[in-house]
Symmetry: C2
Subunit: 311 residues, 2 copies
């Protein structure tokens, strides 16, 4: 029996709960096991109208429950949860996370711990929302590997940049992004490139078997972008996108770059993300989809669950 | 130990042999097993300058060798190999194939046999060349499934259609495709839509848990395409592509359709293929890459091997 401790009950974690309930029959068939939600960690119990008997505000209720064999984490927390998650992995508890901040920062520790204990650690949702990026990496590596990877991985930056193309100033575009719910009250993770840095960090680490330090990844966001540069690009059929880059020589960076407007990365709109793997033996492989969204990211959590328990 | 009987030693099968040798260390680590090529079935031993001691022209040398536990098939044969492969699956021998003609025609029989005997049957290379299409299907299904799927899956048709856009007649474009090696001497599988039909048949069967009869799939190729229709489309920013379509209501067809020139399917060039999954919960997921080519398709054979033996 898969007994889940769910960390968080916001859009992503809540959607994961829904997806499991809606597809319980198929999932129990694929995994060959019953699935039970044992407890759900939240900050404020009063906020939720369902699953009342599962909710707790004490993380010990989950991390000290020895029946829980799978932790699914989709919170915005970083340092407070890293050590308990590491301890859980040590005990052989499987972990699925959609939390890029936590995974990017603690990647090396968590991966080494999970390798030692043979607990599974999966975090597809932390990189591509709904896009199956990480699950394709092992195979890409085994058949000769990847030379370099380039991704457009931040929907908020996409939105703002295309509004500037439409004639808005950066400030106006950011305001509009906030109004439309694309940008958060504090948009720095998006517009300063931090979000993209985390995603390309995680992807490159797995692809190239090398751990990077976040603070050593050159990260230039779009906050100070020159609006004229965007308009000039447009005139020659180009477009500026915030890209994350990694290669097998260990080069890794995040910065706005000029792309052909009608290339696959250049033509992405709004919440669309895409990543291009330049492989040794299989040409370019491109995967594109919705990079964020509650149900979309929850879909990746379900994918991870199948990866761990499937067959 | 994985003991392989390789059927065929042309571009794809030969590249599979090379990829395994080049990446033997990694593959043996991932599978936890030694890998050995036991025998290779060819039509004409004199054609090959290597692996002389492995080559045979008698299929019994492979199908009656009880040590062989994995058959990797990349021939152009259909009816002659279907029954021996089915018998092998019955005995528990795992099978990987890149042969779309064989898989599409015998899909139901082979899948039901493999389910009964619990032998693995994989055929990623039969659909997308290097593109990981089938390997993503199980997860898509488990998290709510797919409403419909649309693919541009035939590079030869892509090439010919874009040459017509450039002003050539259909006949001239086909001639050029033959000259450049994109089309075979007998190009009917490509230009009559058969190749696309096989690929969408295999994909839709797995996606929607329903077996189609090849002859019942409405299949219109590009042989009789109206050149003016292509030019008219072009004028309004559109382009004609040969698409394969399948949906969860059991609708399935192949025909030339008008697409936006700058959409992801509309902008494909030459050997590029792509497929769009319209999912219930994860938005649209697009996977794009090289749909053919020896090493590219061989890469998918290696992926399948990892899927079977990995972890």
């Amino acid at each position: 029996m898969i007994k889940i401790g769910l960390l968080g009950f916001g859009t992503v974690a809540g959607s994961f709960y829904d997806l499991v309930e809606e597809n319980r029959e198929g999932l129990e068939k694929i995994t060959g096991q019953k699935i039970e939600f044992k407890k759900i960690l939240v900050r404020n119990i009063g906020k939720y109208n369902r699953c009342k008997n599962l909710l707790t505000i004490n993380k010990e209720d989950i991390f000290e429950d020895r029946e829980i064999n799978l932790i699914v984490e989709a919170t915005g927390e970083v340092d407070r949860l890293a050590s308990p998650i590491e301890e859980a992995l040590k005990r052989g508890v499987n972990v699925i996370s959609a939390n890029k901040a936590l995974i990017s920062k603690y990647l090396e520790r968590l991966i080494l711990t999970s390798k030692k204990s043979k607990a599974s650690l999966k975090f597809e949702g932390a990189v591509g929302g709904a896009i199956p990026i990480l699950s394709n990496i092992e195979k890409l590596k085994a058949a000769g590997g990847v030379k370099k990877v380039i991704g457009v991985l931040n929907g908020t930056s996409n939105f703002i940049l295309s509004q500037i193309e439409n004639g808005l100033s950066f400030e106006k575009a950011l305001e509009l992004a906030k109004e439309k719910g694309y940008a958060e009250a504090d948009p720095s993770a998006d517009i300063d490139g931090i979000d993209t840095m985390r995603k390309i960090n995680i992807t490159s680490s797995l692809l190239f078997d090398k751990f990077f330090k976040e603070e050593e990844i050159e990260t230039i966001g779009i906050r100070k972008i020159n609006e004229d540069r965007i308009k000039d690009a447009l005139k020659s059929g180009k477009t500026i996108k915030l890209i994350g880059y990694g290669d097998k020589n260990g080069k890794i960076y995040v910065r706005p770059e000029e792309l052909e407007k009608n290339s696959i990365l250049g033509s992405l709109k709004g919440g669309e993300n895409a990543i291009v793997f330049f492989t040794e033996n299989a040409g370019e492989i491109v995967i594109k989809g919705m990079g964020a969204g509650g149900r979309e990211t929850a879909y990746s959590l379900v994918s991870d669950l199948i990866d761990i328990y499937g067959k």
